[in-house]
């Protein structure tokens, strides 16, 4: 049924009421197209048979259960639909749900459900009320609630009510069991990380990390800049201080700053985020201090540009073409600007090292830069360079977690292949 046909019948009284009901249900629930087909049939019926009809059969078996995994204030109402209309009985359009704090009422309408074509199917309504006592739809927790379901028809005088349900309570749960898989993994991973942090502290830097081409190139690039007497451009990207990629990049920046100070060249760090800017300043200053040349650090080496993506890019582009750095290092979060920066760098003839965990931008760096750290490699790079037990241990834990996943994935695929769907299902978090 199309919308036009429904509205064109508005002038006709029963049809109008029908449309009102239809809209009401439509608003409360996105009902299936089936409902509207039913409604069409009824419009024709109602328009030809104006004689009063009998009320429909009452819905039954109203049961109320507490909704799982929430903080209370919600219950789930299940009921069976009215039986198919007998002679003279009006067709049921839908069901209204009423709630009360006492068996005898007063009743408050809380919602509605459209009827299903298959009248043998039972219907479910989730009554989720407000948790605020003053709010209009407040639903008290741990108080007896009574529910009643009313089958409604096109005629507002023709309806029938179900029996009142047994009392039920909305209870708040202290644990969301639907998220157990997530919880177990958090637990597992936390223990794994703590264990490897201990191991790393004991064994120091004897833990092996495979070399990363991009990182080995950094030292080389600094040397080249020194020979050419040109500065190094270090771009931290568009991340904020809470982005993992940016935090990883800080570690590398510290190391680069130290090297740069040792080799007596310059590093330029234009920043996008004001908070990142302040941290970057500290990092570079500390790097110069560690190299024993705190006097060589100038405040305008690390500067804030602006917090607008393309304005920032415009400014960095300008820097690349005006200062002609020998090496451009882009490590951190990057978005659309990745290729603009990398190509401008190529115009200036700089050596370029890039790394990001922003998957969409990796292709551009891979194509346009000399070395690229892909995703997790960026995180690993900071551990590889810093060789701090903390980072090494965390990396180890990640590797073991990955190993577990690979094994689980293979197992899971085999299990699904053999028809044990439950294995893969166990990993699905609900709600």
């Amino acid at each position: 049924m199309t919308l036009q046909s429904r509205t064109s019948r508005n002038a006709f009284w029963p049809g109008f009421r029908l449309a009102v009901y239809g809209m009401m249900f439509g608003i409360v629930f996105s009902s299936s197209a089936v409902l509207s087909q039913e409604a069409t049939a009824e419009v024709d019926n109602a328009s030809t048979m104006l004689a009063p009809m009998l009320a429909p059969a009452a819905p039954g078996n109203v049961t109320v259960e507490d909704a799982p995994n929430d903080a209370g204030h919600a219950v789930i109402v299940t009921f069976s639909q009215s039986q198919a209309p007998a002679d003279g009985q009006a067709l049921v359009l839908g069901y209204e749900i009423y709630r009360s704090l006492a068996r005898s009422g007063p009743w408050k309408k809380v919602g509605a459900v459209p009827s299903d074509v298959d009248v043998t199917a039972s219907l479910i309504y989730k009554d989720a009320g407000g948790s605020d006592k003053s709010s209009d739809d407040y639903l008290p927790t741990e108080t007896d609630l009574f529910y009643r379901v009313r089958a409604v028809t096109a005629d507002s005088t023709l309806y029938s009510d179900s029996e009142v349900s047994a009392p039920a309570q909305a209870v708040g749960q202290w644990w969301n069991s639907g998220r157990n898989p997530v919880f177990f993994f958090v637990l597992f991973f936390t223990l794994l990380t703590l264990y490897f942090l201990r191991v790393a502290k004991q064994r120091g830097d004897s833990l092996y990390i495979r070399p990363l081409a991009g990182i080995d190139a950094v030292d080389e690039a600094i040397g080249r800049a020194t020979e050419m007497g040109k500065p190094i451009l270090y771009v931290l990207g568009l991340g904020t201080a809470s982005d993992i990629a940016t935090i990883a990049s800080f570690t590398i920046l510290g190391r680069v700053a130290r090297k740069v100070a040792e080799y007596q060249t310059d590093v330029i760090v234009p920043c996008y985020d004001p908070i990142v800017f302040t941290i970057a300043q500290e990092t570079v200053r500390t790097g110069y201090m560690d190299a024993g040349r705190p006097d060589a650090y100038r405040d305008d080496q690390v500067y804030f540009v602006t917090q607008a993506q393309f304005a920032y890019v415009a400014a960095v582009n300008g820097t690349i073409l005006r200062d002609r750095p020998a090496t451009n290092i882009y490590l951190g979060k990057f978005y659309a600007e990745s290729l603009i920066l990398a190509e401008t760098g190529a115009i200036a003839g700089s050596i370029q090292i890039a790394g990001t965990d922003e998957i969409a931008q990796l292709p551009f760096f891979v194509v346009a830069c000399d070395y690229t750290l892909i995703g997790e490699e960026l995180y690993a790079a900071s551990a590889y360079l810093g060789r701090e037990p903390l980072l090494l241990g965390a990396l180890k834990a990640q590797d073991y977690a990955k190993a577990v996943i690979v094994v689980l994935a293979i197992l899971g695929v085999i299990m699904s292949g053999l028809g044990y769907e439950g294995f893969a299902k166990a990993f699905e978090a609900v709600g």
């Binding site: 209370g72 644990w175 500390t286 290729l339």
Partner: protein, 229 residues
């Protein structure tokens, strides 16, 4: 005080947010924390504007190289700020007062946005079309096996989006329809691409979880380092 309080704030905030995921009654508390976060993030914009002004005014007053351009920045900043903060020329001001929509049609703020910020960001972004051409020409060469795989996969996707590819493989009979370019490119995108994306995604997710864990446990303090402590 300089070290302990940030540390306590970190641990408390982190724990509330993580535990609220599993303990429904804490949901409200989590919402509150996140509302605070929303309001605080605006102050980062203020910090940004302030830092920008500080740096550029210093440049102007000390007449460093290019101070004229710094002046352009400062003037642009103040004009936009005035139009926005006082909602100048906003047609809705007559009825809604200061509650008027900042971006109402005809307001000077929106007009200046359309005149300056919109074309600048769109032009800056569209430079990519040129750069993507030069990057393709310069870097898409079959230098080694990796580069060849990259090249071939990009080329198939490009072909799949043009009629050239569709026409070139249109003759193929149905039983080899997999090799029709439009199908092949769709397959690359939806299957082979998915495999790689998923591998990277899982790795990154692990990295993020690991780093977040260290932050919440108070082990990782890079963001709190430095300063006059």
């Amino acid at each position: 005080m300089k070290r302990t309080i940030p540390w306590i704030i970190t641990i408390v905030t982190g724990f509330v947010l993580v535990i609220a995921e599993f303990v429904p009654p804490w949901g409200k508390m989590r919402e509150d924390v996140l509302i605070y976060f929303q309001i605080i993030s605006v102050f980062a914009f203020f910090l940004g504007g302030g830092s920008l002004l500080k740096i550029n005014l210093q440049k102007v007053f000390s007449k460093r190289t290019d101070w004229e351009y710094a002046l352009v920045t400062v003037v642009g900043f103040f004009v936009m700020l005035a139009l926005g903060l006082f909602k100048l020329g906003n047609p809705e001001m007559a009825t809604a007062g200061y509650a008027a929509d900042l971006n109402a049609n005809g307001s000077w703020f929106k007009n200046l946005f359309d005149a300056v910020k919109a074309p600048l960001s769109a032009s800056m972004y569209s430079l990519l079309a040129f750069f993507i051409a030069s990057a393709s020409y310069r870097a898409f060469r079959a230098k080694n096996s990796d580069a060849t795989v990259l090249l071939v996969s990009a080329f198939i996707i490009l072909m799949g989006q043009t009629f050239v590819g569709v026409v070139a493989t249109g003759w193929m009979p149905d039983w080899v329809s997999f090799f029709k370019v439009e199908n092949l490119s769709l397959w690359l995108l939806a299957k082979a691409n998915l495999a790689g994306q998923r591998a990277i995604l899982i790795g990154i997710a692990l990295g993020i979880v690991s780093m977040s864990l260290r932050v919440i446990l108070g082990i990782e303090r890079t963001h709190l380092s430095g300063g006059d402590e």
